[in-house]
């Protein structure tokens, strides 16, 4: 199987889906002529033309609302935000309209659209360009929230998202774009709502998604050297969440550490933890540990930013805390 970057995997999915369905189009700032600020849409303008790969003015609310209107008519927009931080301007269109149209119209109008953006902490991008907002979208009934961590999942989940009749918030990560992995060339979709067991283990479950899922795998390698076998669950989708995967992993290991790169309060991590308690309380031999960033904005200065970020050491310490509890 070819080894390609996460970025290239996304690009392939966009290429193939635009080819497959003439009602799919891409819209966003710098997606066309500039080739995309993260180069995910590179080459698409040349292939599909300006009608289907549309450069917008700086009007997040305007073009997102336009996309929701177009989706009401059955077109399939893919909106790109340069960073999820800029989605805040468009939240009315996403939350009050895209998420609610099907419900409020009694099923007459849906919002078959995808909103893609890099989400979470970059490198010294400072507070306004570094937010992880997945919990905001997880909170809203009517939105699906997908966060692939590997190139194969990026391709398969983006295909699934584009074909999904409902609005999908597709959260990428700046630090993942250049990571590599094996990706098949078949027209394969990865189903939304299914977690992946990245590594089997019996002593503790590391539950995560996106960049942190990859960090959990590295922490698991380190732990293995001490004879601690960590199971790594990559949720891949937050909404709808794979509750069976959560229940099953805790039933196997009896200890859980939830790892995300968010602010802690009302985070996706806290929601995952709540669900674990609901699904598998009797299976737990220790309280669920959460590893997230602290309750602060992201600072610019490199050492402070490093201090903010969850790292392998914190994951390992969390694992030790769960193991320190007697069974």
């Amino acid at each position: 199987m070819p080894v390609i970057t996460y970025r290239e995997a996304l690009r392939q999915a966009l290429f193939e889906e635009l080819e497959r369905d003439p009602e799919v189009f891409i819209m966003g700032e710098e997606v066309a002529q500039y080739q995309g600020t993260f180069r995910v849409t590179e080459g698409l303008l040349d292939k599909f033309g300006p009608q289907r790969v549309v450069d917008t003015p700086i009007s997040e609310e305007g073009f997102t609302s336009l996309a929701v209107g177009a989706a009401m008519m059955g077109l399939k927009p893919i909106i790109e935000f340069m960073t999820i931080n800029f989605s805040i301007r468009a939240l009315d269109a996403i939350v009050n309209h895209a998420a609610k149209h099907r419900y409020m119209s009694g099923g007459q109008f849906g919002a078959p659209m995808v909103i893609r953006a890099p989400n979470g902490k970059g490198e010294r991008l400072a507070a306004q360009h570094s937010h992880a907002l997945e919990s905001w979208f997880l909170y809203m009934s009517g939105l699906k929230v997908v966060l692939p961590s590997t190139p194969a999942d990026a391709r398969g989940l983006l295909k699934a998202a584009i074909r999904d009749p409902d609005p999908v918030i597709f959260l990428e990560h700046a630090a993942l774009y250049s990571t590599k992995g094996e990706v098949g060339t078949e027209d394969e979709i990865v189903p939304i709502g299914k977690a992946a067991v990245r590594r089997e283990g019996k002593h503790v479950s590391l539950i995560s998604y996106s960049r942190m899922a990859q960090m959990c795998l590295r922490a698991a390698e380190t732990l293995a050297a001490e004879g601690i076998e960590a199971e790594v669950i990559d949720l891949r989708t937050l909404a709808p969440m794979d509750e069976e995967a959560l229940r099953a992993t805790v039933a196997r290991t009896h200890r859980a550490v939830v790892v995300t790169e968010e602010n802690p309060v009302c985070s996706a991590a806290s929601e995952i933890t709540k669900r674990i308690y609901g699904l598998a309380f009797d299976e737990l031999d220790a309280p669920v540990e959460l590893v997230t960033g602290p309750d602060t904005p992201l600072p610019y200065s490199r050492p402070l930013e490093r201090q903010w970020a969850p790292d392998e050491t914190q994951i390992i310490e969390a694992v030790r805390r769960t193991l320190a509890r007697a069974s």
Partner: protein, 317 residues
């Protein structure tokens, strides 16, 4: 407009007027709850403009959407049932007054968010152009919506991208209790079109003939050229912003002055003067309209509320 068309629209305006009036009564009886924004006084705007459209041209409005819903030809029974929150409502009881929708009659809804239809309507026009359909979108909103950011962004996008949309400002002088003069640095809204190199014009919305004449001129041009237009329609609502609005921000005299130019009265006079109908016909038409509205009230009363399972339905496809 030919005489039969005037007669048809006259009847349509009467239906809307009586529907709204009875909805107001039902609201006082708590059969309708939440918010109720009545269209009484503004009937010529929706009827005059929508009647000039082709069958596939999309229409989108604000929360004051009952008139537009009915002028699109959507089902009156389902409309009242929706206000009553019944399962037989156009939105299955899940939307209510501000969220009437009819896919069948290409009515893309009301919205509870001021200005929402401006942005969404721009997307409807975008879709028409994308599919190379020669259509025109009518997006109706109020004077208050002209101050939103989405107004500005949508004007720019529509003009920049040549989208076939007519942005219809139903200027009734007040955004809830705030007059145009208290909220607008440029209160002559149609002039704002110049900032986007768009055509803007103003028309008297109490005069059905003027509204329809404007529509007959602008709609084919937008269809052909795909150049968007900002159309400011001067109108007035006789009732408050919503059902619970005491209306302390305007004088009884002002309301009376606008009532003197009642749009339905004007059309009725025209029909009588041009001998399309006789006085006796006025009575019989009123009786028919009354019967139609009574029937939709009966339908709404007798329809069931949604089943408990409906709470969880239509979140996803």
């Amino acid at each position: 407009m030919d005489k039969n068309e005037v007669l048809r629209i006259y009847r349509e305006m009467l239906v809307i007027r009586l529907f709204e009036d009875r909805a107001g009564v039902a609201y006082m009886q708590d059969k309708i709850g939440g918010y109720l924004h009545l269209y009484i006084g503004q009937e010529a705007v929706a009827c005059g403009l929508i009647s000039a459209l082709q069958p596939d041209d999309p229409v989108i409005a604000s929360y004051r959407d009952h008139g537009h819903y009915l002028a699109c030809g959507a089902d009156i029974n389902e409309g009242m049932a929706e206000l009553y929150g019944k399962a037989t409502g156009c939105s299955k009881g899940k939307g209510g007054s501000m969220h009437l929708f009819s896919k069948e009659h290409r009515f893309y809804g009301g919205s509870g968010i001021v200005g929402a239809g401006i942005g969404l309507g721009t997307g409807l026009a975008f879709a028409l152009k994308y599919r190379q359909q020669k259509g025109v979108c009518l997006s109706f909103f109020g004077d208050g919506a002209c101050q939103t950011g989405i107004f500005h962004e949508s004007m720019n996008l529509a003009s920049l991208w040549n989208l076939p949309i007519i942005f219809v400002i139903e200027n009734n002088g007040y955004a809830m209790g705030t007059s145009v003069d208290r909220s607008s640095s440029e209160p002559e809204f149609y002039k704002r079109a110049a900032a986007y190199r768009m055509h803007g014009e103003r028309v008297d919305g109490m005069d059905l003939f003027k509204v329809r004449e404007t529509a007959d001129r602008l709609i084919p041009e937008v269809r052909e050229t795909c150049r968007p237009v900002l159309l400011e329609v001067m109108t007035y609502r006789y009732r408050g912003h919503g059902a619970a609005d005491p209306g302390n921000y305007r004088t009884k005299q002002e309301v009376e002055e606008w009532r003197q130019r009642d749009p339905i009265g004007m059309v009725e006079s025209w029909l009588l003067k041009n001998k399309v109908i006789k006085e006796a016909d006025v009575k019989s038409i009123h009786a028919e309209v009354q019967a139609e509205v009574e029937e939709c009230l009966r339908f709404a009363e007798e329809s069931p509320f949604p089943a408990p399972e409906a709470l969880y339905e239509d979140i996803f496809a």
